[in-house]
Structure formats: C-alpha cells, structure tokens
C-alpha cells in the first residue's frame, strides 16, 4: 500500500496529540509511516507511540541542527526521506513551523501544497482535503495535481484511534543543506497545567466583557472545572489582560474544539475566523445584540461575572 509520511511533532519527549490525529487520518489514504526528528533519547518511546497509532516504520534522525537551526533541517530530513522512500503523500501538523516546513518540502519535491485541512479522504486521483475558508463561511475541497501531495492538517481534525503496527525504527542520516537562521536561545513556554489551546477538546475564552486582567479569574475557574484550555479575544490581548499565545482568532490560534464557550466576546470577524468550526458553541454576553449569538448553539444574555461562577459551582456539584 502507498506510504503516507507523517511528521511526528513532539515536545518534552512526548508525542503531541495532533501527530496521533495525523496517523489516524493517514490510514484513510494509505499506510502510515512516521518521521521523528531531533528527539534525542526520547526517540525510542516516541517511535513506540507512533507504532501504537499505526506507523509501520518510524524514520528517526537526530542531530544538534534540529534545535540550533530554524525550519531548514526538518525540510532537509523530510525531503530526503520522501524521495528515498518514494512516499505517496506527506502530512504535517498545521502549526506555524509545520506549515513553513511543508511549504519548503513541497517546493523541493516539485509538489502542490495544501494547508490547514480539516478533513482528508481518499479520492480517485489522490487524497482530497477539505479546508474551511473565509472565516469558516465556505468549505473547499481540493487536491494536489502535481507531485507528491504535501498537506498540513489542523489540530482536532480527527479523534486519534490506536491501531497497533510494527513501528519498526529505521535510523536515517540526514545531509543538511545549511543556509538556515541560527536559534540563539530557546525559552520553553511555562506550562499553566491547562491543556494546549489548539489541542483541547474544550476551550473557554474571555473578551472585552471580562473588563480587566483580574477578570480572567472567573474564566480560568470555569476552564479548570471543565479541564479546558483558556483563550482570549484580540481585544482582551491587545488590552494586555491575557498573553498573546492564548489569542483565538485570525491572527492568533485557530481552534476547533468539541465545545467553545465565549464569555464577554462580541464575535467580530477576526474572532469568528478562529473559532467558527468549533462543534458546539456557547456564549455569555450582556449585549443581546452581539453578533456571537448568531453562531451559538446555546447563549445566555447576562453578566458573565454572575453566570460563569454559577456554572462553575454547578459543574463542581455534579
């Protein structure tokens, strides 16, 4: 069967959830194999996890370049493996870096590129990807018409399903091409203990209606009661109430959770572009005319400082 190469994203020595989603999606269009880059001693356990989720072979490459140089070493590795193994498609997570890696790999392979797919299915002429565009007002289906399809897939596009496969490790020596920017220093993001925003099944976001940085406490308490990630609108981030890394919207993170709760968010186009593909949408806002209410499955017109704590207490009591 056709080999579908999946770049396995990892952090702190563990596989990140979007990689498991990609392995799951890859099984729909062929036989998944995995690439694990720069994981050091964690490579063996990461490869084992990839095997549990369906990777027949796991290509492992290590080297200081992956940490010390930006993007290009990963491009070198993926391109080399894709060419050597004659793969049928390359799947990469839709992160900022993932998309850049995919773009350069596509160019080197002479292949078309599709980014931010939310669905993947087998077609007669290769994989067909669904994208959600124009602030999720349109669904576009497209495919790559030249070369080996290179496709990036958004987190939460599939539920990871275990499917034990051999997971045979094959070590690869990569010929690095150079010409990459130097990473002078790297400061890992301090973990809040909450789920990663783009990966979480539930997201609770606060906006202008939260009123102040301290106001986010009620948002965080609700999020913690649900095991959810915390998001913020651009207005709240621009006001300095919450970090930019938590911004949901066109210029922030694009999220697609099972449940999205918008508190004190009016629902401007910028924000909608980042959350409109959420499966269930709930809003709490004082303004009954707020455009967010056009999107919701359930809306409460009311003061978030009363509604959210009451909801949090209810969840705690159940």
């Amino acid at each position: 069967m056709a080999e579908i190469l999946v770049l396995v994203d990892h952090a702190d020595g563990a596989v990140r959830k979007p990689a498991l989603e990609l392995l799951t999606l890859a099984r729909r269009i062929g036989e998944p194999t995995a690439v694990v880059l720069g994981a050091g001693e964690a490579a063996a356990s990461i490869a084992a996890t990839a095997g549990e989720y369906g990777a027949a072979t796991v290509y492992v490459a290590d080297g200081a370049e992956f940490a010390e140089r930006l993007v290009v070493p990963k491009v070198d590795a993926l391109t080399q493996i894709a060419k050597d193994k004659g793969v049928a498609a390359v799947l990469v997570p839709s992160s900022g870096e993932g998309k850049e890696v995919a773009a350069r790999v596509a160019l080197r392979l002479g292949s078309g590129l599709i980014t931010d797919a939310v669905e993947l299915e087998a077609g007669e002429e290769g994989p067909v990807a669904t994208q959600s565009v124009f602030a999720a007002s349109y669904q576009v289906k497209s495919r790559v018409s030249q070369g080996v399809p290179v496709i990036t897939v958004k987190p939460n596009s599939a539920a990871p399903e275990a499917a034990p496969a051999a997971g045979t490790v094959e070590n690869v020596t990569v010929a690095f091409t150079g010409n990459a920017a130097k990473v002078v220093s790297r400061t890992p993001r301090v973990s809040t203990g909450r789920p990663e925003l783009t990966e979480s099944a539930i997201v609770v976001s606060g906006g202008r209606g939260v009123g102040a940085a301290e106001g986010f406490e009620v948002v965080e308490k609700l999020a913690d009661s649900l095991g959810a990630a915390v998001g913020a609108s651009r207005a709240a981030v621009d006001a300095g109430w919450y970090p930019h890394s938590n911004q949901v919207g066109q210029t922030g993170k694009q999220v697609s959770p099972q449940l999205y709760i918008a508190a004190g968010i009016s629902g401007a186009i910028q924000h909608r572009a980042g959350m409109q593909t959420s499966k269930t949408i709930v809003a709490v806002n004082k303004d009954a005319e707020a455009p967010i209410f056009d999107l919701v499955d359930y809306g409460v017109v009311g003061d978030l400082f009363e509604v959210l704590p009451q909801l949090t207490d209810e969840i705690g009591a159940r």
Binding site: A11, L70, V71, V72, S95, G96, K99, E100, A102, A103, R104, A106, L107, R108, G112, L113, T115, D116, V133, F134, A136, S137, Y138, Q139, V140, K141, S142, R143, Q146, G147, A181, K182, V184, R186, R189, T198, L226, H244, Q250, T251, L259, Q270, A273, T280, I281, V282, A288, V296, D297, Y298, G299, V300, V301, G302, V307, P309, Q310, L311, E314, R318
Partner: protein, 261 residues
C-alpha cells in the same frame, strides 16, 4: 551603503464584506472591495522602522495582482515607502501560492534587495507559507513569524513566539523575514504622506519582463486543484435565554444534555 528593503504586500478582499468564489473557483474579486492586507501593514511598519534606524535605506513595496492592487501599493507608499513594483498580467489569474512565490522571487531579484519583509500571512488565504517559499526559492535564510525585529551590523535578529517556546533568532543579510501583528502598531498615513504617495514611482512589470512563461502560472500552472467550494450550511438557530438569576444553572443543564459535564 544603502540598505535595500523590499516589502511583499497583498491586495485582498475586505474581510468584513461578503467574500465568495467565482465560477472558476477562484476568489471572486468583483463582488467585494479590496484593500492592503492588514497583516502586511505590520510588515510595512517594521520595514519603515528598520529604514529609519539605518544610515541610508530605501523601502520598495512589491505586489502581484490585478489593476486594483495598486490601491494596496498606494497605501504602503502613503505610509512612507519610497517606491513600488507591481507585477500585473492577465495570465496570473488563478495562480496558487507556489506560483506566486515564483513570480515574487523573480520580481525581487530584478528589483534588488538586502532584506525582504513579509506579513505573517495574508488575511484571505491565511496560509502563512509565502515567506518560507521565497526563502527556499532565493536560497536565503528565513527568519519568520517575528514579534520583534532589528537589523544591525549586517545581521537580522528577531524573536519568534512559537507554540512551545520563544526563540531568539539571527541570520546574516540578505534574508527573508516575516512579522506578526505583535511586532508593533502600524502607523496611519498622514495627509502629507498621502499627497506624496501620488508622486512616487510605481514600476509595472508583466510575466515577459520576468522571463516567466504563462503556462507556469495561473490556474493551468497551479499544482493544486480546487474541486468544489460550498457555502457552509447556515447554523440552525440556537437557544438563547436571558439570565434571571439562574442562567448558569440553565447553561449547566444544556452542557449536561450534550454530555460535556
């Protein structure tokens, strides 16, 4: 030595308008007004700031697009860029990002540059891959998705706030950079700037000028194929209640009915 800064900008449909697709499944540009992509304003701003810090610098804005794309160039010129390059050719219609990067790379080579500055993504396609493709085509280092940027002693330095970590990056010039909306508010054009922009040179180039064959670009030259584009079905109207003291409890009941709690 003059520091030559080229800024790549895009003319995009206004996101507050009703965006859609034409019969050939390309973006319908007739039904909605266009403007300079908001995220490119940050690129123009950072280019102008870098130029202001340099002893001697020149900022050129470059775009690929139809006649109306001149509006995007005028906006950048009125903010303070020195000159503009407009690649315009009817055979470009329908070109995908890989093709666009080929055209821009040729235009940049023809114009000459020490630093290429891009926005983090366009506000229409939102792919965010053009800067990486340009770096690949021009065989230059990419220093992308920067929230802070500076140029000194022939080096470009910047801060990239990624999902998992914040990285400090550097590369020698020439290089391709992209900046995020965290890099600093873009200035508004002054009246003087708007008047001055009318006199600034806009160089027109077509595919022949760049030595690109028509069949390498456009819909026919695209390496991807859109099979269908459909408006997302309207959401069925949700339940909306007004809080009269038990709004949180009612919401809990809804979330419970959906098995979230």
């Amino acid at each position: 030595m003059t520091l030559r800064i080229a800024v790549c900008v895009k003319y995009v449909p206004d996101a507050t308008g009703d965006r859609g697709f034409a019969d050939d499944l390309t973006v319908d540009r007739d039904e909605v007004d266009g403007l300079l992509s908001e995220l490119d304003e940050y690129a123009v701003e950072q280019a102008l700031q870098i130029a202001e810090e340099a002893d001697e610098a020149e900022v050129t804005v470059v775009t690929v697009g139809p006649d109306d794309a001149k509006d995007a160039l005028r906006k950048a010129l009125s903010m303070g860029a020195d000159k503009a390059v407009h690649v315009n050719d009817e055979d470009i219609h329908g070109t995908d990002v890989i093709g666009t990067s080929a055209i821009l790379a040729k235009a940049l080579e023809k114009t000459g540059f020490d630093l290429v500055v891009c926005g983090m993504a366009s506000t229409d396609g939102t792919m965010g891959v053009l800067p990486a493709l340009l770096a690949e085509r021009l065989s230059l280092p990419q220093v992308t998705l920067l929230s802070e940027i500076s140029v000194e002693d022939g080096l470009v330095k910047g801060r990239r706030d990624g999902d998992a970590a914040t990285e400090l990056l550097e590369a020698p010039l020439p290089a391709v950079v992209s900046v995020t909306d965290q890099s600093g508010e873009a200035r508004y054009p002054s009246f003087k700037g708007i008047m001055a922009a009318k006199k600034k040179p806009v160089e027109e180039l077509d595919l022949d000028d760049l030595g690109i064959d028509a069949d390498e670009v456009g819909l026919a030259g695209s390496w991807t194929l859109v099979e269908s584009a459909a408006a997302r079905p309207a959401r069925t109207a949700g339940t909306i209640v007004t809080d009269e003291g038990d709004g949180g409890k009612q919401l809990a009941t809804f979330l419970s009915s959906q098995k979230f709690i």
